[in-house]
């Protein structure tokens, strides 16, 4: 799946030229091009893909960002924006012939308005830091991707990040009111507004989740919500994974929208329990975590309903958190699921497909068959309430054959997600990682329309080129390779 792209720039003179142009207005230390300085930027959270950027720019003001973009546009140099580099799809993979634009210095919370319930922040502010700044006012920022202590709001905007509370509180697109930034040519734009329903097309929705391909964001206005007075979580065990899946549908069918509804299968539960001792039932085939939040009256009422539904759906055990410490302990295993799985395998590959919830059992059976077919283990954690799956394929990257089997395993799972009416990515983005699977999800007409959107914002294709939307030629090649029933020909060719 992964690959280390060719080393930077045969053309050192181009590198010097671009660096000199940027140093005309940026301090020396804010323009990096020596390999030892640019090495930390060679990949994001998807470490299988690496590429040294030709130049790294670290502006600290909007005016500098504007000049970086205008300068690069004038010189025809590609630009890739980057936040904290925690992305899981290679969206911030640098251009070997271009500038990596790090927004890391934009770390200020500019304003928290408790009465209006908004915060205005710079893009390099960490997701969790927004809630920390709002906490003294009894407010918080709802989307909580699992990387929230490290990931930044700029990256969240680029990826339309989710988290474990999306079903009730939405994704980034539901919680950001406005962004300010620059187009690829360095023109200032402002989309959305602190007032509802900004006039014209919803360019804010278009910008959020655009993976840094339409504009560079330099300021974000987010919505803050009152912190619920209390929260409790029900942990339920099931002796059958499909029963657990049916229980998820039963909760929602009963008219309950829980604050969080997560599921883990036995291998994932065991890995997590060994790692953090969350008190999970390691004999259960699957466990569900169902959280209720709100006023004490509301939570008490909802928890009772949830328990009744889960028991009727065949839960073999139900435990309700008694206090905040226990609630956090129940969640600790789920939140540590990825690193926990990391302990039991040299490498793991995290998928991000979303399916209609009613197809959960079918997908789980399918994944079970693929484990046998490819001789690889695959624990499963799900944002069950949203139908968002994170199967984790365990492999050893040092073993080329395992890497290859992992890639084919993942491709089959994502294509199955599309086949049952879902999508190849629920919250991690396409980036470079799932660009081929885009060909399975969309037809040529939609892909061409996406390029049209890109042209409208960035006619010369300088911002984050080559990500998220595959060319039609690439899709033709991808489809051709899939004619032979899963066996990929031309194994010598690089495949992303």
């Amino acid at each position: 799946m992964g690959e280390v792209l060719s080393p930077v720039a045969e053309n050192r003179s181009r590198q010097r030229e671009v660096a000199a142009a940027l140093r005309a207005f940026l301090p020396q230390r804010a323009v990096l091009f020596d390999e030892e300085d640019t090495r930390p930027y060679e990949c994001d959270g998807l470490t299988a893909y690496r590429q040294l950027p030709m130049v790294v720019a670290l502006p600290e003001s909007e005016a500098q960002v504007q000049r970086v973009l205008a300068t690069c546009a004038a010189m025809g140099v590609p630009v890739v924006p980057r936040g904290a580099g925690t992305g899981l799809s290679g969206g911030a993979l640098p251009p070997g012939d271009g500038v990596l634009l790090s927004m890391a210095k934009f770390m200020r919370v500019l304003r928290v308005d408790p009465l209006a319930r908004v915060a205005v922040v710079q893009p390099g502010v960490r997701n969790a830091a927004i809630s920390e700044a709002a906490a003294p006012f009894g407010l918080y920022y709802a989307p909580d991707p699992s990387s929230q202590i490290a990931c930044t709001i700029g990256g969240n905007v680029a990826e339309n990040s989710g988290g474990v509370h999306c079903l009730k509180y939405g994704l980034t697109v539901h919680n950001v009111l406005a962004v300010r930034g620059f187009t690829a040519e360095g023109e200032a734009i402002r989309v959305g507004s602190a007032a509802p329903d900004a006039p014209g097309y919803d360019l804010l929705a278009l910008t959020i989740g655009s993976e840094g391909m339409l504009c560079v964001v330099t300021e974000v206005t987010v919505k803050l919500l009152p912190k619920p007075q209390c929260a409790r979580v029900v942990m339920a065990s099931f002796d059958d994974v499909e029963k657990a899946g049916a229980a998820v549908a039963a909760v929602i069918g009963a008219g309950i929208i829980p604050a969080g509804l997560e599921m883990m299968d036995r291998p994932a539960t065991r890995a997590a329990e060994e790692f953090v001792h969350a008190g999970y039932d390691v004999d259960a085939a699957a466990i569900l975590l169902c959280e209720s939040d709100g006023s004490a009256e509301e939570v008490g009422h909802e928890i009772a309903r949830v328990e009744a539904v889960l028991k009727a759906a065949g839960a073999t055990r139900c435990t309700v958190s008694r206090d905040e410490a226990e609630r956090l302990r129940f969640w600790s295993g789920r939140k540590a699921a990825f690193p926990a799985v990391g302990r039991i395998s040299p490498d793991y590959y995290c998928m991000d497909g979303t399916i209609p919830r009613r197809r959960l059992g079918e997908i789980l059976r399918f994944i079970g068959e693929l484990e046998k077919k490819y001789r690889l283990r695959c624990p499963n954690v799900f944002h069950a309430g949203d139908g968002n799956l994170h199967p984790l394929i365990l492999f050893d990257a040092a073993n080329a054959d395992e890497l290859d089997r992992t890639e084919r395993f993942a491709t089959e799972v994502l294509e199955k997600c599309v086949a049952v009416g879902g999508t190849i990515t629920g919250e991690h983005g396409v980036g470079v990682e799932k660009i081929n699977q885009m060909c399975a999800q969309f037809r040529a007409a939609e892909l061409e329309a996406f390029f049209g959107v890109k042209r409208a914002f960035d006619p010369r294709g300088l911002l984050n080129p080559g990500k998220a939307v595959p060319t039609l030629a690439r899709c033709a090649e991808y489809r051709r390779m899939h004619v032979h029933g899963g066996e990929l020909p031309h194994r010598e060719l690089p495949r992303f």
Partner: protein, 349 residues
């Protein structure tokens, strides 16, 4: 009417560069700038395509009457949480194209927040499927939400998938005697607390607030807030949502000012009805358009000339130059011949 027929009509119009006026029930003919072009009636392409209540998603064709869709959801104890106004025989297609949300927007979110996917027939007569039928989907640009509120200028919304939610278990409405500034302050203060607020409307010295949620939570909040129970609350909120309230009667121009919720009283001449915790200010006024637009802009918002005998000042607040260029560029990609509802949103789109 079939999709193929829609495509034929659009392809033919594009070839002749002949404007088309996309129209469902015609309930929002008044909205936006004056419609023009040959009528393309979407009502015959109707019906629910897929609805599985436990998925919280409904997919329906554009011509489906909004009332019928809401009835089908209601039978399963579900609803469109953004409470779209009907203003008559509305269809789903027109509902999404207009992008209008009702009283519950302040708590549940806007129409666009519930759009999961659309099937679009664009001005090149391409049939395009964006988004999908699942809650979380970040594959490709979010063209579905771009289509919401685009007034049909990018494409005919042939089909849409929406997230739906359970109907609130319990509702209770309260009334308070508050002056305008006091009401704005109270609405914002309450909205910052964990209260089950669902809708608010202030007019003529009275603030009406609707609470919605689990019954114990609603009762606890009501006893905390005080106020008087609102008589005939259902009719009151229907009046606000559907503009059947007396405030909306008559021919005086109706402005829709969207502002940050904490904006103090705007001091414009005329009568007001304030919704969405202070963020939506309906204004009946003969004040000059420039004056109304300038007041909204100063506050960080914008003013829409919603209903008026004369829409010469333009229905929507003008965009800055860069945004307008992006709008034109998007229009050129989806409708290069400029035939779909031309001018309805802005001149030149």
């Amino acid at each position: 009417m079939s999709l193929a027929l829609f495509r034929d009509v659009i392809a033919d119009a594009a070839a002749r560069r002949a404007p088309l006026r996309l129209r469902g029930g015609g309930s929002k003919d008044f909205f936006g700038n004056e419609p023009r072009g040959a009528l393309l009636d979407t009502r015959s392409y109707a019906g629910v395509v897929d609805y599985e209540p436990a998925e919280l998603v409904v997919t329906a064709r554009c011509g489906t009457p909004l009332a019928e869709l809401e009835r089908i959801l209601d039978e399963q104890g579900q609803c469109l949480p953004f409470e779209p106004p009907h203003f008559g025989a509305a269809t789903l297609g027109g509902c999404i194209a207009s992008g209008l949300s009702g009283p519950r927007r302040m708590s549940a979110g806007a129409l666009r927040d519930f759009v999961l996917g659309v099937k679009l027939i664009d001005g090149r007569a391409r049939e395009l499927d964006f988004g999908g039928r699942v809650m979380k989907n970040v594959a490709g640009y979010d063209v579905s939400r771009l289509a919401a509120g685009s007034l049909g200028t990018l494409g005919l919304i042939a089909e849409a998938s929406l997230k739906v939610l359970p109907r609130p278990e319990h509702e209770l409405s309260l009334a308070f005697a508050f002056a305008e500034a006091e009401a704005i302050e109270a609405m914002n203060r309450w909205a910052g607390q964990p209260l089950p607020l669902s809708a608010s409307a202030w007019r003529e010295g009275a603030l009406q607030v609707r609470l919605a949620g689990a019954e114990p939570a609603v009762r606890a909040a009501a006893s905390r807030l005080g106020g008087e129970p609102l008589a005939d609350a259902g009719a009151f909120w229907r009046g606000v949502r559907e503009h059947s309230d007396a405030f909306f009667a008559g021919a005086q121009p109706l402005w829709r000012l969207a502002v940050p919720s904490t904006t103090p009283p705007l001091g414009l001449a005329g009568r007001q009805l304030i919704e969405w915790g202070g963020a939506l200010r309906w204004l009946r006024s003969d004040a000059a358009a420039d004056e109304v637009r300038a007041a909204a802009k100063r506050a960080g918002g914008h003013a829409t000339l919603f209903r008026a005998p004369d829409k010469a000042p333009g229905a929507f607040a003008p965009l800055d130059e860069v945004l307008m260029r992006l709008h034109r560029a998007l229009k050129a990609e989806f409708d290069p011949a400029g035939i779909l509802n031309p001018g309805r949103l802005y001149a030149g789109l």
